[in-house]
Amino acid sequence: MTLEVIGISVLWLFLFGYIIIASIDFGAGFFNAYSLYRGKQHILTKIIQRYLSPVWEVTNVFLVFFFVGIVGFFPKTAYFYGTTLLVPVSIAIILLAIRGSYYAFTTYGGLKQKIYVFLYGVSGLFIPASLSIVISISEGGFVTLEQTGPVLDYLKLFTSPLSWSIVVLSLTAVLYISAVFLTWYADHANDIEATELMRKYSLIWAGPCILTATGIIVEMHGHNHEHYTRLIHLWWLFAFSLILFVGTVYLLWKRIRYGLAFGLLTGQFALAFFAYGISHYPYLLYPHLTIYDGFTNEAMATALIFAFLAGLALLIPSLILLLRLFLFNKEYVQGKQSNHP
């Protein structure tokens, strides 16, 4: 395995981590707001609050880790993506900033108005939508190299069926992932009413999620044929992913083993995400930038990998401690311990 491949694999893994835990977070915000609107807030809010409170800051770090890491391992991405992504990423930052800080303001600071709950819920859907634009751009066809530097063609981007299908997939995936997780979490807390509601939401969003995912492959056929061919080549990974999807839905339907259901879901998304990533290889940005010509020097790459291993040795035990105290601790999950400051 070359240093380039190690680098991109590590980053891809962290991006996957971000997608899963951020989806839970974004979706939870949306379901919370929706239940308030439907007058069912009493069912969901406590469960959602109890999960989100100790982990919201950690979610953000996964994203920071990814973008700092990619500029470290592949400095040329700063040039290509930095220049072209100014507007969509700025919008995502602003939404993330308002969402994150107003979460703290309402949770710890006692701002209680309904309007914040709605803003919080809706902003959680706009963020994945604006971040998913990065994926569309990486498919090529939207960036041209002018004399002054790379330029993004907004008209083409906003009229492209591919970019809209990716946006829609990001939304359905957020809602589906979050609903399945919260079903398990609520069940873990022995909260029957919340479990039933979240189970219903999971089953509602399962179909749209898998449909939009399939739709992307179809759109890819027309947009980037080279990538499409490579995707099809990895059909077996997608087939495994589909089997896991069916498993999740079956368990939810039968009302059994919600923990396993969420595990299968993670597997489903991991397989699809990595199949997509592998088929994207070697391009970081079609057709301008590959992981080989965008790579940093050997000395830096080695140093980064060492730092990464040392960092992991510190992080993994800490993360396990966090999960044991708040996710796998029945007393906490069931709300028998509050202990907030």
Binding site: S53, V68, P75, A97, L315, P341
Partner: protein, 448 residues
């Protein structure tokens, strides 16, 4: 939008983000240490008041940390969005500390979550205190790593450029550059100092507003004492920073001190105005610049006239230096007088006017931090990477920076106002008198 405009707006936007972020970042670095010390004293002395200090500070800290995290994410991404050419080069040489900073941040975030939700969960309070150590360490190491990147921008090393290509890259050598020791130390101790004075300012404000509670008096004494220690440290390290500048960035020192002709026995110029190249109405301290630069009065300090005109920073940075040093000295005197006054039983330290001065000291300290960072950043101009890359060559070619500037200005207004409202409501609704009374009823309830 032409390139010049893109550079201009990129600079304004970066300056705005950093100026806003640094307030929350500085507090975020210093407060965990303050909480740790207060909780430690509380456990040692079995003093409820100190424990409550730690507890109440933690509540406020969560709010500032939230804004610090999101604005930190903003500046992290803006570096690539606004300065893609710089980041492409920097990514090759100085990515290591940036990467390590995310780990420090990760570590801090995880343990902050744990610390927050485990009050009263442990029989032995010291165990809970232990959880705060990674938070404080993570916060300080974030500051160290990020400051290393900034030090590298001032004194780049650890690579060679041959025919426009980067070769011989040594990531560790780039990290341990000459600017790093003084800069890192200065940023850390001034953050601890500022946090102490911000907290002192709150305690003094409460006392001024009529509360005569022992809790606030203890808080004031504790924070002023800690503040004094770190102010002394800041002054000493500031002196070393002067010596670093004289050796490695003489043009920055010369511009900040309005030192035009190379000469020995150079005086330090404070305040004053420039009229046709003449310094007027200034306070001149004989030999002081030579001493600041090298420790001996006869040392020859290089003047601005010895540098190329297009490679020196703007002269207004002199006032930034003045503001930083003046506030630092003021806080030194204020805290010395306070501690001495407690010891010698001087009554004026409990007077209204003295407490008002301490109240103003908090915001002033933050202003000094701002002035210090502006001095550092503007004083490096026209370079983004001193001697290697000019700021004008580093910026994005995008035409939408001005619109983004407006959007981000709106964001910072919302976050600024929001955090102030939330923080003041939090403590006004739940005063210390109220909280102590609540705890008594709670405990009585538990005994029943």
């Amino acid at each position: 939008m032409g390139n010049e405009e893109a550079v201009f707006f990129s600079r304004v936007l970066t300056e705005m983000t950093l100026s806003f972020h640094i307030i929350y970042a500085t507090i975020g670095v210093g407060i965990p240490l303050m909480i740790m010390m207060a909780q430690w004293v509380g456990i040692k002395k079995q003093d409820e008041h100190y424990i409550l200090l730690a507890r109440r500070w933690t509540r406020g800290y969560v709010i500032t940390v939230a804004v610090g995290v999101v604005t930190g994410t903003a500046i992290g991404l803006q570096l690539s969005l606004l300065w893609p050419n710089f980041m492409e080069l920097a990514g090759n040489v100085i990515a290591l500390p940036l990467f390590m900073e995310t780990f420090a941040f990760f570590f801090e975030a995880i343990f902050l979550g744990i610390y927050l939700y485990t009050w009263d969960r442990f029989e032995n309070q010291k165990k809970h205190l232990l959880l705060l150590i990674p938070v404080a360490l993570g916060a300080s190491f974030s500051a160290i790593f990020i400051t290393i990147v900034n030090a590298f921008m001032n004194a780049p090393q650890g690579f060679d450029i041959v025919d426009g290509h980067l070769v011989n890259i040594k990531p560790l050598l780039a990290m341990f550059n000459p600017a790093m020791p003084t800069k890192v130390a200065h940023v850390l101790v001034s953050a601890y100092m500022t946090s102490a004075f911000v907290l002192a300012s709150i305690a003094a404000f409460r006392l001024l507003k009529g509360s005569n509670h022992l809790y606030h008096k203890k808080a004031l004494f504790f924070t002023m004492k800690v503040g004094l220690i770190f102010t002394i440290a800041t002054v000493i390290i500031g002196d070393f920073s002067g010596k670093y500048l004289a050796e490695y960035q003489p043009e920055k020192l010369a511009a900040a001190e309005w030192h035009f002709d190379t000469e020995g026995k150079a005086p330090l110029i404070l305040y004053g105005i420039l009229e046709d190249g003449e310094v007027k109405y200034a306070l001149k301290i004989p030999f002081a610049l030579s001493i600041l630069a090298h420790g001996i009065p006869s040392y020859e300090v290089v003047g601005l006239n010895d540098f190329k005109k297009d490679e020196t920073p703007p002269l207004y940075i002199h006032y930034l230096f003045d503001a930083m040093v003046t506030i630092g000295m003021l806080m030194l005197v204020l805290s010395i007088a306070f501690i001495a006054g407690l010891w010698r039983k001087w009554t004026f330290i409990s007077s209204k006017w003295y407490r008002s001065l301490i109240v103003i000291g908090g915001p002033l300290s933050i202003l000094a931090i701002e002035a210090g960072w502006w001095l550092d950043e503007v004083g490096r101009q026209p370079w983004v990477l001193r001697g290697i890359m000019k700021t004008k060559d580093a910026a994005t070619s995008s035409g939408q920076v001005d619109t983004m500037l407006i959007l981000f200005a709106g964001l910072y207004i919302i976050l600024g106002i929001g955090s102030i409202i939330v923080l003041s409501r939090m403590f006004r609704k739940n005063t210390i008198e109220q909280e102590l009374a609540d705890r008594v009823t709670e405990e009585a309830g538990e005994l029943d």
